[in-house]
Symmetry: C2
Subunit: 103 residues, 2 copies
C-alpha cells in the first residue's frame, strides 16, 4: 500500500510543488522561463505535469535556487570508524544471484 499514486498523479503533484516555489518568489512563468533559458511551454509542462525533460527540471531548479535538493536523493549511509577501516571498495555493478531459484 505504498505506491498509491500513479506516475501521472505524482508528476502533477510534483508540478504543483514547483509552482509553489515559483510563487513564493513571486515571478510569473514567463519570467522563470526567460531567466532559465527555456521555453515558456517547458515551464508549463513541468508545473502541469504534462511531460517534461530532466534537463528542463534541473535548469528551472537552478533558477529557483533549489538545485541543492537534487543532491538529497541518496544520502550517504553512516558507518562507524571501525567499519570504515575494513570497508571494501563500493560495488560498481549488481551481483550475480538475483532471484531465488538455483543455478
Amino acid at each position: 500500500m505504498q505506491n498509491s499514486k500513479t506516475p501521472e498523479e505524482m508528476e502533477a503533484a510534483f508540478g504543483q510543488q514547483l509552482r509553489d516555489l515559483r510563487l513564493r518568489r513571486n515571478i510569473d512563468q514567463r519570467q522563470l522561463a526567460v531567466q532559465t533559458g527555456v521555453a515558456l511551454n517547458a515551464v508549463k509542462n513541468l508545473e502541469n505535469g504534462r511531460g517534461a525533460t530532466l534537463t528542463s527540471l534541473v535548469k528551472v531548479l537552478r533558477t529557483l535556487g533549489r538545485a541543492d535538493w537534487l543532491e538529497t536523493l541518496a544520502p550517504a549511509v553512516a558507518i562507524s570508524p571501525m567499519q570504515m577501516l575494513k570497508a571494501k571498495q563500493p560495488r560498481q555493478r549488481a551481483s550475480k544471484p538475483k532471484g531465488s531459484s538455483h543455478v
Copy 2:
C-alpha cells in the same frame, strides 16, 4: 557563487545517486528497467546523465521505493496559529510589480 555546477554536471551527479540507490538494492539495470516498465536505454540515460524524461525518473523512483523523495521539494512553510487565522488564501498567480522601474 552558488551555482557552480553546470546543468550537465548536475544531471550526471544526480544519475550517480540513482545508480547508488539501485546498487544498494543490488539489482542490475535490466531488472530495474523491466520492473519499472521502461526500456533499458531509459535507465542508462538516467544513470549516465544523458538526457531523460521526468516520467522515466518518476517511474524508476517508484520501483526503487524512493517516490517519497519527490514530495520533499517544497516543504510547507511553518506559521503560527495566530498567523494561521489571519492567513489569506494562497496566491495562484504571480503579482504585478515585477521589476523596479515605474509604470
